[in-house]
């Protein structure tokens, strides 16, 4: 028969080990908030790099046919507009800090989630169509230097690549991002419920 004092003694004797250090905790806190921001920024940098590469191609190579110029223009505009949309969304999560303004951050995160959904659905198809159109115009001049087999391979691979990006890859990205943002929202919602706690 044990008394409460013995139970208390048992509790106090049980040594618990905290698995994280203060430094790790601080890192974790900052990483949690910055992870999504970093991924979004990398996405924009990659898009901007594509924009610059195509612009360099346009500037440094001499193209004779008007179709090539139209193709590159369409492609570069599509990438530019898509990058600007990505940047607009990035600002939503970058301008507020969860640790400083939790409610604002949570609202922005929800808007970001909605915008990303639009980006990968209706807007994506505009982007894919514009990109395909640009490539078709671009190929008119470029493919004239290739043999028939090379033409078939180039068109076939480009078509398959666009198809792959629009279907399998797009769905996988949507799924992964949806889960990631939903988890963040769930976590931040749980945290926000207690932000206005009394001091």
């Amino acid at each position: 028969m044990q008394a409460f004092d013995q139970i208390q003694e048992l509790w106090q004797k049980h040594e618990v080990e905290v698995k994280v250090s203060a430094d790790e905790m601080l890192q974790q806190v900052k990483k949690e908030v910055g992870g999504l921001k970093l991924k979004s920024a990398l996405n924009i940098i990659a898009m901007f790099a594509s924009f610059l590469s195509i612009a360099a191609l346009w500037i440094f190579f001499h193209f004779e046919s008007w179709t090539t110029h139209v193709g590159i223009s369409i492609t570069i505009i599509a990438i530019g507009v898509y990058t600007l949309i990505l940047y607009r969304d990035h600002r939503l999560i970058a301008k507020s800090d969860f640790t400083a303004h939790p409610h604002e951050y949570l609202n922005n995160l929800k808007t970001y989630q909605l915008n990303r959904y639009k980006l990968y659905n209706s807007l994506y198809w505009f982007y894919a169509i514009a990109l395909s159109l640009g490539i078709i115009f671009y190929f008119v001049e470029i493919l004239s230097f290739f043999s028939t087999i090379q033409k078939i391979v180039a068109v076939g691979l480009t078509f398959l690549w666009i198809l792959f990006c629009s279907t399998i890859l797009r769905k996988a990205v949507i799924k992964r991002e949806k889960e990631r943002i939903a988890l963040l929202i769930e976590k931040f919602e749980r945290l926000s419920e207690q932000i206005s706690m009394p001091d």
Partner: protein
Amino acid sequence: MEQKDKLFKQIFDSNSKKIFHLCYGYTGDSDAANDLLQETFLKVWQNLDKFRNKSLISTWIYRIAVNTCLTYLRSEKRQAKDELTDNIIENKIEEFSEKNEQVALLYKCISKLEENDRLIITMVLDELPYHEIADISGISEGNLRVKIHRIKQKLTELYNQYASV
């Protein structure tokens, strides 16, 4: 910012063990306790500027931890994932039993208590002064004394009941 980081580290070092024990007592699972500890200190960090020394910082942190614990398992997703504390405790029993049967039994008994009672008794076991527990849990000290007496009795009964099986 460096000042804040430094202060946070000091606060973490002096409070994390007790908070972890509280979370461990509540969930009976070290991984879940670790998650709760991290959530608690995330909130501590973001609210550090708002802390106005009206109460002890440890009391303030305990209050955050208690709220975190109560909200944590109420989240539908978490419930589905972890199937509530009882199941976590049951699953962890085997792991405990080899090391310390009595401690495992104690955690099991704590898990049989009501959510709020679980947190209160954890603080009692950690010897927090009653006025602090009252402050943290938002119960008047008079009511708290009665409540603690009842929880102590219940826990002792449960412990002896399971120990004799």
